[in-house]
């Protein structure tokens, strides 16, 4: 990289935030080119074999394990100078972890950030897919704590590898059967197991059931990164993603009848419950996707304004 | 010359046991038996114990493997097979279809009721379940097995009842050849009467019967021919009256 370009990057970094990283001589995207290459190769393999967990050389990152290091490595490997990044944690751009991760990405690349999916190209997330429809411009990068969908039924690594290799998911089906027998319904919430491209079963961890249908035949690319477990997997655009369920047990998303967001009044977005304090008693609901909520509220208040979502 | 259409034709049948567990000695059970049986004939085997009567039946049924000789059976289809040389699987098949065997001992079937046992015997003979069940019911009634016992596990029934079940199972769906080894030994007079009646009916249906009976009365009543055996051979064969005369004379002497 020539000096003037580096200077531009550093200038931009200084303009955007005051992170001390801006003063250091870092490679674009923090990672060295060899690291990026290895991660990109893992990503390409993952995209070529949808749903297959590709092992990769997960590095020690400036975030601790369990805080999104996997998603971060993917983001830093794919990011380019023309990207715009959005980072959310549980749908919120302003959560501490989202802010930290976004700052790290921005300061090591100098690219702009946004909270609006419409304006973004890279979206790194923990636990949610943004409410706005995403398309070919977007790459969704999901932080994954446990990439192995079969972990609940099998511990042995070799046996797990065999089960995936032979598409022998009988024990997963048994656990779904037992779940339904014991509880009347299949009770998994986040990390619902899905069959990708008719071949591999993935853990959709960490998104809620609400977001699972968004993956099916999506227009956007989804990349899943597990830093601690050292695995990357992918759901390419226009790929079948079917939640595992019995033919006669429809896959259901979380719905609380009558619940509405207290901020924007929406009952069509994914809502989370805010527990009440000891003084005012009952809790209330708000949209999980804070940015979407804000825009939805604005539209309701000023319907004449151009619709930006 | 026209060869009569024998159901069973034995030639030179011998059976030699080699007892390896006792210094390898030989025991000759049959020393060359010839016998022909026509359809509808009831041939009774007579002779003192050890004469080879049961051994002969078992050699035909292949419970014993004959040492030499031939046992030619005419099948329902008309073709003939030598039972001494068919494969085990073929023999198992023939036992189910063409040959019936009723011994004193009920095969180990502890938890089935009489109706079930006899019905299954019919099904294995090729009858459909419904017909077999009906025939089984008829047979059991005929042999005086009360209906209330039809679902009782056979293991708790008396010796006489078990023997009659055996007979019903062995005679359901008349086979080509029926081998009987003391089939009424444990029956009281009334039940014996019913059993002998049933057996007698079979010969009138064309079944060839080869039977070992302990008592002379039964032989007199059923047999169209008596074969007297001694020391593993046929000593005499002929008209029942004639043979029985000889027998009883021999006893008096």
């Amino acid at each position: 990289m020539n000096t003037s370009l580096l200077q531009q990057v550093l200038d931009r970094n200084t303009r955007i935030d005051e992170s001390p990283v801006a003063d250091l001589d870092v490679n674009f995207g923090l990672l060295d080119e060899y690291s990026k290459r290895e991660i990109r190769r893992a990503i390409l393999t993952a995209v070529a074999v949808p749903g297959y967990q590709v092992p990769f050389g997960s590095r020690e990152m400036p975030v601790a394990r369990g805080w999104g290091s996997g998603g971060l490595q993917i983001s830093l490997a794919v990011v380019g100078p023309d990207d715009v990044v959005k980072v959310i944690d549980q749908g919120d751009d302003e959560g501490v972890n989202a802010v930290n991760l976004r700052r790290l990405i921005v300061s090591s690349t100098g690219i702009p950030e946004s909270t609006t999916p419409e304006d973004s190209t890279l979206i790194q997330t923990r636990h949610r897919i943004p409410e706005d429809p995403l398309d070919e411009r977007h790459t969704l990068i999901l932080q994954v704590p446990v990439p192995e969908p079969l972990r609940g039924v099998e511990r042995d690594m070799r046996e797990l590898a065999r089960m995936h290799a032979e598409a022998d998911y009988a024990r997963m089906w048994v656990s779904l059967y037992e779940d339904k027998v014991r509880n009347g319904v299949i009770t998994r919430t986040t990390g619902y197991p899905c069959l990708v491209n008719g071949r591999y079963v993935i853990a959709t961890t960490p998104i809620p059931r609400w977001d699972v249908p968004r993956l099916h035949q999506s227009r956007f690319l989804s990349l899943f990164g597990a830093g601690r477990e050292k695995r990357i997997y992918a759901v390419p655009p226009h790929t079948d993603v079917e939640p595992l369920t019995f033919e006669d047990v429809p896959f259901e998303v979380e719905i609380t009848p009558g619940a509405e967001c207290r901020s924007c009044g929406s009952s069509e977005s994914f809502l989370v419950e805010v527990p009440g304090s000891t003084t005012d008693g009952g809790g209330h609901w708000v949209c999980s996707d804070s940015d979407w909520c804000r825009r939805h509220r604005e539209r309701r208040q000023h319907p004449s304004r151009g619709d930006r979502s | 010359m026209n060869t009569p259409d024998f159901i069973l034709s034995c030639r030179g049948l011998t059976k030699d046991f080699v007892l390896h567990t006792i210094d390898g000695r030989h025991v000759e059970a049959l020393r060359g038996v010839d016998l022909d049986i026509l359809p509808g004939e009831h041939v009774a085997l007579a002779g003192s114990s050890g004469a080879g009567k049961s051994s002969f039946l078992k050699c035909i049924y292949r419970t014993y493997e004959p040492t030499s000789g031939s046992v030619v059976l005419r099948l329902r289809s008309g073709s003939r097979v030598d039972l001494t040389s068919v494969s085990d699987q073929e023999m198992a098949y023939l036992r189910g279809r063409d040959i019936g065997y009723v011994s004193q001992f009920l095969r180990a079937e502890p938890r089935r009721g009489p109706l079930d046992i006899v019905t299954r015997a019919g099904v294995s003979r090729g009858m459909d379940r419904v017909t077999a069940r009906e025939a089984a019911a008829v047979s059991l009634k005929r042999l005086n097995i009360e209906e209330k016992l039809w679902d009782v596990h056979a293991s708790v029934l008396s010796g006489g009842e078990k023997q009659r079940i055996n007979l019903a199972a062995g005679t359901i769906s008349a086979p080509q050849l029926l081998l009987l080894d003391e089939p009424v030994s444990a029956l009281d007079p009334a039940n014996r009467e019913a059993a002998l009646d049933l057996i007698g009916d079979l010969t009138s249906q064309g079944v060839a019967v080869l039977a070992v009976f302990h008592d002379i009365e039964a032989m007199e009543r059923l047999a169209s021919r008596i074969v007297l055996m001694r020391n593993g051979r046929v000593e005499m064969s002929g008209d029942p009256d004639m043979v029985l005369d000889v027998l009883t004379q021999g006893a008096r002497v």
Binding site: R162, A165, E166, D168, Y169, A170, R171, W173, V174, Y177, E178, K180, V181, R182, F246, E247, D248, V249 | F17, V18, L19, H20, T21, K58, R62, T63, Y64, E65, D88, Q89, E90, M91, A92, Y93, A108, P110, R111, R112, R120
Partner: protein, 280 residues
């Protein structure tokens, strides 16, 4: 008569240790041992062959160490064999040697072509899964995806094997030995395999319980028309369940024949000893 075998085994052999054929020279029933002093290897089984037709149950009798369990495990795929051929009619019309298949292909056979009922039910079941769930495992492996139908079929099988339906949702680990064996039978028959191997199916059960399980097996064999191989050291079991059998000693088949013939007119000296001891 259906002379088309469902299972054919030919020249099956298993040598533990150096696969040197010299071991055959000083092992076998005539020598009286399965261990070779020439090579140190153990000839667990050699030159074993038989055929089983649908609806037929073949017995494999032998004392412990006879090689009967080895034969069973080699056919099942639980153990690798040294030599031999195993054919299943349901696989490529019996033209492919099952022993040549790779492990994952052999595992697939265990879904619907070949089932095994083990002496220890824990080997064929998952104790931390319900009775219905164990059967569901077999069904889902075969592609069943309808919860209601899976449950109906599981209930049907459990009823057939006389497991109280009230226990369908209980963990198998809470069942008695006899009840576990019944669940194992239900699971083994779930996908209607043409061939079933039973290894000492009632050994280890209390006598009264064993009698019930034996009856059940007899009924199931008759009604399903499977081709069965019953491995046992117990003559009562062989007599109850089989029409033909083979006698094994020190890894070899010493005699074969109709079951009642073998029990009443054994020829081979070892068979005579075995039958004599059983009858005593």
């Amino acid at each position: 008569m259906n002379s088309e075998w469902a299972l054919k085994v030919s020249s099956l052999g298993k040598i533990h240790g150096v696969p040197d054929l010299r071991a055959l020279e000083d092992t076998g029933p005539d020598v009286g041992t399965a261990k070779s002093s020439l090579t140190g290897a153990i000839v667990a089984a050699w030159d074993v062959g038989f055929e089983v037709t649908p609806g037929e149950a073949l017995g494999v009798i032998g004392e412990s160490g006879s090689g009967k369990s080895t034969v069973m495990r080699c056919i099942a795929g639980d153990q690798s064999s040294t030599t031999g051929e195993v054919f299943l009619r349901s696989l490529d019309h019996g033209r492919t040697n099952v022993l040549d298949l790779d492990p994952s292909a052999r595992r697939r056979l265990r879904v619907a072509d070949l089932s095994v009922v083990y002496q220890d039910p824990a080997e064929g079941l998952r104790l931390n899964v319900t009775a219905g769930g164990n059967i569901a495992e077999a069904l889902t492996a075969a592609g069943w995806r309808h919860f209601g139908r899976i449950r109906d079929r599981a209930a049907e099988l459990l009823e057939r094997t006389e497991v109280p339906l009230s226990r369908m949702d209980d963990l198998v680990g809470t069942f008695s030995g006899g009840m576990r064996q019944r669940v194992q039978l239900a699971k083994a028959l779930a996908n209607e395999p043409p061939v079933v191997l039973l290894d000492e199916p009632t050994t280890g059960l209390d006598a009264s319980v064993a009698a019930g399980v034996l009856d059940l097996i007899r009924n199931l064999l008759e009604e399903t028309g499977v081709a069965a191989v019953v491995v046992s050291h117990d003559f009562a079991v062989i007599e109850m369940l089989t029409t033909r059998c083979v006698v094994m000693n020190h890894g070899h088949i010493v005699e074969a024949g109709l079951t009642d013939r073998l029990l009443e007119d054994p020829h081979h000296p070892y068979s005579q000893r075995l039958v004599g001891a059983a009858r005593a």
